[in-house]
Amino acid sequence: MRILLIEDEVKLSGFIKRGLVAERYAVDVAKDGRSGLELAQTYQYDLILLDLMLPGMDGSDVLRRIRKENSSVPVLILSARDTVQDKVTNMETGADDYLTKPFAFAELLVRIKALMRRGPVNRASTIRISDLELDRLSQQVKRGGQRIELTAKEYALLEYLMSNAGRVLSRNMIIEHVWDQSFDGITNIVDVYIRHLRNKVDTGHDSKLLKTVRGVGYTIREGAEA
């Protein structure tokens, strides 16, 4: 899987590339719009990550040129501009997704995988992690065969964590997914719900599945500490 990253901030492209390489992607980096467009026209990419504010040629222009050539390569915009207007304009030009800076790397990964249809999201009707089992059809959760009663929010939270098992999800991603943007910025809603979920899921069991990665977010996975 080959990804083209068009981003002028060297440091930014540096860590994105490192992270993606660690996830076994091949990554090419272009530092400005023109050379990015050349690369996109020359090689067959599976995905393009595109910054909007670029020297030489604006990201939106690059996108327009790519789409003009009838290329259907998925394009994910990475931008500091977060107005609805910006998003709408670029989605209309042909972007497939739009991610606002600063983003959690985990979120970038989730979206990349979604775009490349490799299914980061486990759509199976039952998800199992260790002895924890979640049934999407009946919306039931069991641990070691014992049924756990969850509220609707707790269920949504657990389902989100479990379908991204092993990946650290930021508070922001959780809020946007389980609540919505309006709840962003209030004190500790995610922490409170995680604490309650932890009480119901992990208390009384030797292996603790819900894990906190300080400063980054929460994850659910088997085994010892992160």
Partner: protein, 486 residues
């Protein structure tokens, strides 16, 4: 039809003034003519009376009374419709004309005068019913010394019928003239106001999206042209400041968010992919938390500046405020449960406003978050949604720690904290209420805060209510509606 429209009001004023002028004019013409006709008739009656005296009565002693009465009869007063009577000094009739052929009066019924002064005088007689008989009386003293009173009269019928005709013409003509003038006035006003219509139509199509457009300037050299040019100048200034703010907020976004993205990315990859000691991990985690806080502050500041610039072009539509409030509060219930705070709803379901659901949800979230944060364990928080006259009211009440009265005026200022030490570790940047205030302002609402320290706080938002029956076709009309409601 709109009876308050400038066009109709102007036409009504115009017609009213015209009516007053016409009535004054008609009245004076009528009175003037009546006096003129009256005096003309009387003066001819008087001169006839005088000529009877000077030409006939002068010779009464010489030629005898028979001669005089014969001479007067020769004048055929009955065919000319005249009343003539000559009275002797002792009040006996010397002569009286027979009844006229037109039967307008009966001479015998007109009372006989027994005494008179030396001067001519006027009188009128109503004995034969209207029309009255106008009579001129002239005393005459013959050269021999015996005196007579000569009375010559005529019916006022002709005068009356002329005046009546005039009155009829005025009464029929004036309303016609006024109605014609009013209709003409409306047409003229419509023509005159047509450029204003044009201006309004264009102004309404100009929104934040096509700020580049200008009103067509009609070169009339008058108020209309001045109005359009000054509106256009105003739009240039608005466009400038609008673009300035957009550019600024885009620049700030880029300049602040890029380094934050790098910091966050680098530290995250350090925390996740390197094998760090727990102590180092702790430090990295703490740095990441501060980056998250900084990110939040940047986001909120940008949101406030966009709201204040009126750029919050989020979806606008009908919002059921009660439903929105409850569904939002339910998603936060656990926060209240954590502190054993009673969360109660006093919500009417029929409160609809025009606004952005996501912004209004943000208001509810921020207010409830504050209320729960500043209420101690086992306190209570109430969420109230109701209608008060034309307003929709959303209120959050708590019995928490309250706000000191000296802080109350500043509580909505950015970064203001009533109690620095206490609130610092409850998180947030002190921007929650600033955002609520900006959202209120952007949605045409009003924010008021009542609080007493130690007893609790009430935060109230009042917005124009709509009955939700009007169908709003698109976002643009909804925006216009929002402005009207404001």
């Amino acid at each position: 039809m709109n009876f308050h429209s400038l066009r109709l009001r102007m036409a009504a004023w115009y017609a009213g003034v015209l009516a007053i002028c016409l009535i004054a004019f008609g009245g004076s013409v009528y009175l003037g003519l009546a006096r003129y006709l009256d005096s003309t008739l009387r003066s001819s009656l008087r001169s006839e009376a005088q000529s009877i005296g000077e030409k006939l009565l002068v010779d009464v002693n010489r030629k005898g009374e028979k001669f005089v009465t014969g001479e007067i009869n020769e004048m055929a007063p009955e065919t000319s419709g005249r009343f003539i009577r000559v009275t002797r000094q002792d009040g006996t009739k010397l002569y009286e004309s027979p009844a006229p052929v037109n039967q307008m009066f009966i001479p015998a019924k007109i009372p006989i005068l027994r005494s008179w002064g030396p001067r001519p005088f006027s009188l009128e007689d109503a004995s034969s019913g209207p029309p009255v008989v106008l009579i001129e009386a002239v005393p005459f003293v013959a050269p021999e010394g015996n005196s007579f009173l000569i009375q010559v009269g005529a019916s006022s019928r002709d005068i009356r019928s002329v005046l009546h005709g005039l009155l009829l013409t005025l009464a029929l003509g004036m309303p016609l003239i006024i109605a014609g003038a009013a209709v003409g006035g409306i047409l003229v006003m419509r023509r005159a106001l047509h450029p204003l219509d044009e201006i309004t139509r264009t102004a309404e199509t100009i929104t934040s999206r096509n700020f580049g457009e200008r009103l067509p300037v009609i070169r009339t050299g008058d108020e209309i042209e001045r109005l359009t040019t000054s509106l256009n100048r105003m739009m240039v200034r608005l466009e400038d400041s609008f673009q300035h703010i957009s550019r600024f907020s885009a620049d700030v976004s880029h300049e602040l968010r890029t380094p934050l993205t790098i910091l966050r990315g680098e530290l995250e990859s350090l925390a996740q992919f390197e094998h760090l000691s727990p102590a180092t991990l702790e430090v990295v985690g703490s740095a990441l938390e501060e980056i998250a806080r900084l990110t939040q502050i940047v986001n909120q500041l940008l949101e406030i500046s966009r709201l204040e610039a009126g750029q919050a072009t989020k979806e606008i539509g009908f919002v059921n405020l009660g439903e929105l409030a409850i569904s939002t509060a339910e998603q936060m219930r656990l926060l209240a449960d954590e502190k054993s705070i009673r969360l109660e709803y006093l919500v009417s379901s029929e409160v609809t406003v025009v606004g952005s659901a996501s912004l209004l949800r943000q208001v509810v979230v921020n207010l409830l978050d504050n209320a729960i944060k500043y209420t101690s364990k086992e306190g209570s928080v109430e969420l109230l949604v109701e209608t008060r006259g034309p307003k929709a009211v959303l209120e959050v009440r708590d019995n928490g720690i309250g706000i000191p009265s000296d802080s109350l005026p500043h509580i909505c200022e950015r970064f203001y904290r009533a109690d620095k030490a206490r609130t610092r570790h409850s998180g947030g940047a002190g921007l929650g209420l600033s955002i609520v205030k900006s959202i209120c302002a952007a949605q045409g609402g009003e924010l008021s805060i009542f609080s007493s320290e130690g007893e609790g706080t009430r935060v109230r938002i009042e917005m124009p209510r709509t009955n939700g029956k009007t169908q709003i076709a698109n976002e643009e009309t909804a925006h216009a509606y929002l402005h009207l409601e404001r």
